[in-house]
Symmetry: C2
Subunit: 234 residues, 2 copies
C-alpha cells in the first residue's frame, strides 16, 4: 500500500514521502501567521478564538491548536481566561538585543560554513544566490520576496555550519517576522543583496575569517543603518 512496491517503471526517486498534506490545523497556523505579518491583526490586539474560527470557516478546535503553537513561538501570548493577544512590536532595546543575539550565532556559523564547505553546500549556496532576482520596484510583494530570500539565506548559512541547534535557535527568533512587522512598508534596499554576495564569496573561497567579518558587518549594517532609523521615527 505504500509507494508502489512493484513499480518497474520508475524506481528512481527513492523517497517521495507522500506529502500527507492534511492537517487543517497546520493551514490555520500559516493563515494566522500571515494575518499577523500583514498587520491584518494589529500588534497588541486581542484575537478571539471563535472569531478567527468564524473568519476562517473552521471550528475552534484547530484554531486553538494553532494558537498554542504560536504561543510557543512567542507570537501571541495567552491570558488564561481572557483569550489570546498578539505580542507587541519590538522596541529599540529589544531590537538591539535581538541583533546582539544574532551576532553571537551567525558570524560563527558563517566561519564554520566556510571551513566545512562541501560540493553540495557550494551548489546550494549558488542556487540560492542565483534564485534571488533583484527587485526593481518597491511593491509589497517585492519586499515580501526579498524577505523570503533573506530568511532562506541565513537559514542556509546556519545549515552549512552543521549545527542544528544554531539553525533552530535562529529560526525560533522569528527575526524576519519582527523586522517585517516593524518596517513592512519600507524598502530594505538592494544593499542587502550585495552584502549577501560578499558573505557568499567568502564562504565559497573557504575563508572563515572573511566570512565571519562579512556576516558581522552585514548584521551591524542592517541594525544601525537600516532598522534603527526606522525604529526611531516611530
Amino acid at each position: 500500500m505504500n509507494g508502489a512496491p512493484t513499480n518497474e517503471a520508475g524506481g528512481r526517486a527513492p523517497v517521495t514521502p507522500l506529502p500527507r498534506r492534511q492537517m487543517l490545523a497546520d493551514d490555520v497556523h500559516e493563515a494566522i501567521k500571515a494575518l499577523i505579518m500583514d498587520h491584518a491583526i494589529e500588534p497588541g490586539a486581542r484575537v478571539s478564538i471563535d472569531g478567527l474560527a468564524r473568519q476562517l470557516g473552521v471550528s475552534p478546535t484547530p484554531v486553538r491548536e494553532a494558537l498554542a503553537r504560536l504561543e510557543s513561538a512567542e507570537l501571541v501570548v495567552k491570558e488564561p481566561l481572557r483569550g489570546y493577544r498578539t505580542t507587541p512590536l519590538l522596541n529599540r532595546e529589544q531590537l538591539e538585543d535581538l541583533y546582539q543575539f544574532r551576532l553571537l550565532l551567525e558570524p560563527w556559523a558563517a566561519a564554520r560554513a566556510a571551513e566545512r564547505l562541501s560540493d553540495e553546500g557550494r551548489e546550494r549556496l549558488r542556487a540560492e544566490m542565483g534564485s534571488c532576482d533583484a527587485p526593481r520596484d518597491t511593491t509589497y510583494d517585492a519586499y515580501k520576496a526579498l524577505t523570503a530570500h533573506d530568511t532562506r539565506f541565513h537559514v542556509l548559512v546556519a545549515e552549512l555550519a552543521g549545527s542544528a541547534q544554531v539553525r533552530q535557535a535562529f529560526e525560533r527568533t522569528h527575526c524576519h517576522l519582527h523586522v517585517f512587522r516593524l518596517s513592512y512598508n519600507r524598502g530594505i534596499g538592494l544593499q542587502t543583496l550585495d552584502e549577501h554576495r560578499s558573505i557568499t564569496d567568502a564562504i565559497l573561497a573557504g575563508d572563515p575569517q572573511a566570512a565571519e567579518a562579512a556576516m558581522r558587518g552585514h548584521l551591524e549594517t542592517a541594525l544601525y543603518e537600516r532598522l534603527l532609523p526606522v525604529s526611531d521615527s516611530s
Copy 2:
C-alpha cells in the same frame, strides 16, 4: 484601573498578578513533560492522544493543545495522521552540538553578567547559591533537585546578562531535560556545585574575563568528563 486604586489599608504589595491558576491544558502540559522526563514514556515511543486523556482523566482536547505546545518545544514530533512520538535521545553528535551552542551563548552571558552586576542581581545570585544544599545521597529526588538548581542557575546568569533573547534561546534548548533523560540514574556529582561557585565568585567580583573562562570551563568539563563517558557506554 489596575490594582486597587483607593486601597488605603495595604498599598504595599503593588502587583500581585493574581495567579489565575486555571487552565487544565497547562497542568496537562506539565504532566506530560514530567512523564517524558521520568521515562514513563520511553524515548521514541508513540504517545496516543486519547490514551493520555484516559490516563490523566481528561478529555482529548487539552491533551491535544498540550502536545501542540510540546511539539513546538521539540519534545515530541507529530506524524500527521499517525499520532505523536517522543523525540529520541540525543546521540553523541547532537550532544556535542548542543554544548557547542551553549558555548556560544553562556560564556558571553557570564561576562556580561559580571559587567552589569547590580545590587539586586548580587542578591539573587547569593540567594540561589545559598539555597542549593549539597545532596549527600544519590537518590532520584536528590538528583532531581540538583538538576533544578542547575537550571535555575544558568537561567539566572542569562537574566543577569540582560538579554532576553539569550535567556529564551537557552530555555528553548531544554538542555537539562535532554541531559536528564540521558543520565537520569547517574549522579552528576558535587563538582557541579564547585564550578557554579567559581562562576559566581567571578561574577560577584565583577571580572568579565574570569567569569567567561569559568563558564567555558564548566561547560567543557560537563560535556567531556561527565556526559560523553555516559553517552559512550550506551
